[in-house]
Symmetry: C2
Subunit: 211 residues, 2 copies
DNA sequence: GGAGAACCTGACCGTTTGGTCAAGACTTTG
DNA sequence: CAAAGTCTTGACCAAACGGTCAGGTTCTCC
């Protein structure tokens, strides 16, 4: 069915179709959740017959799993800045900025992730228990080191991580509510910059980090 | 069908059945979203035949709307402390505490709300545009008054509201993820207190409010 | 150019869904 | 106790769902 080595032309077609399906699936899953999404809708948005979608992804669950794990990769990569920084102002500040940028560039991804977790992570529980646990403990250790060096206030790094995730992802997950409260207008670039600066400022000052 | 004035005994039965259905519905909608929830499942959890559920709530959408608007009421009432306070330390601090308590006592409610908003608020858009807009502007005015009085740092009250909502609701919406990261153990009372204190401390200090 | 693999698709299927219906049981009221 | 309203229920239905299948088309490689 799926061959490891394909000629160029077919490989392009495959990746194009797959990519179109994945894009459509991300949007539909984000809007309707796993249960509310239909393969019909995904196929239509991808511009393909439903049967063709099943050619690339045998089941709805397989497609969903692929969408969610792609998102997971993006999330993890957003934190590279964390380790390259020597001061908490740089490290935490850059992480906040990176997460805020992701909330604007990939809001659907954030919503799919949020829905999956809210429903008990039935599909990606194994990722949570392994990769996310390890990743989180690594970042917590970095924060603890800054605390031990007296570079920021002593707080439990765990609850700081949650605060950063919550505040930044909120702008993706609750974008519709935010837009409604903004006179039914999407946030402008200026508003976005102000929101980003406000989040950054309050968090850093709240941690006793000079800015 | 539904009578305004019923004898006591029947009124009790009605309210009991309705309440059981609403409880079950909140849990099922929280777990599966609107699309993934089934009337069968809701009926089973309420301990009633499916037909009986339809006797009280004609359609799935009507039941859902009732669940969501009940939640909306709870949310709004959580902010009474806001206006009764004279200092931002009291007002904002008490609001954070109240929202954190709600995240622990009514996590399903928060998850249903989050799912509804994430999917574009197809059912309760009118609430958002009227009640929530008014309510939010009222609280923003209170915050602005504290800023003008020099009692806290000058930040845009709007983005502060979002931060408070995000950080507190995160503990309900992402409870499953938090539990997984906590060695698959629900947060203990002590951990909860620490999380609450951390959120409160970081936000208040971040706003330049002495604590 | 022909064999074989990869890709595409319309028709179809069993299951589950939200919702209906008609008939029976219980409660209240005269 | 009987009539009227309220509540409960098993059987049923059309529609929509995820998924299958067999047959056709396109591409690559020898």
């Amino acid at each position: 069915m799926t061959q490891a080595f394909l000629p160029n032309r077919q490989q392009n077609k495959r990746s194009e179709s797959e990519a179109a399906i994945l894009r459509a699936a991300e949007a539909v899953f984000a809007e309707a959740g796993f249960g509310g999404a239909t393969m019909r809708e995904i196929a239509e948005r991808a511009g393909l017959p439903k049967t063709n979608v099943h050619y690339y992804f045998a089941t709805k669950e397989e497609l969903y799993r692929r969408v969610v794990s792609d998102i997971f990769e993006i999330w993890l990569q957003a934190a590279s800045s964390f380790d390259e920084a020597s001061t908490p102002a740089e490290g935490i500040g850059a992480y906040i900025d990176a997460k805020m940028d992701l909330s604007r560039s990939h809001p659907d991804a954030s919503r799919v992730w949020a829905t999956e977790v809210m429903h008990g992570a039935p599909i990606i529980q194994d990722y949570l228990e392994t990769t996310l646990v390890e990743w989180t403990e690594g970042r917590m250790a970095s924060i603890q080191a800054w605390i031990d060096a007296g570079q920021m206030d002593p707080i439990n790094p765990r609850y700081l991580m949650y605060m950063i995730w919550a505040t930044t992802q909120h702008y993706a997950d609750f974008a519709h509510q935010i837009e409604t409260l903004n006179r039914n207008t999407p946030m402008s670039d200026a508003q976005w910059d102000e929101a980003k600066a406000t989040v950054r400022r309050i968090l850093l000052r709240g941690l006793g980090i000079a800015i």
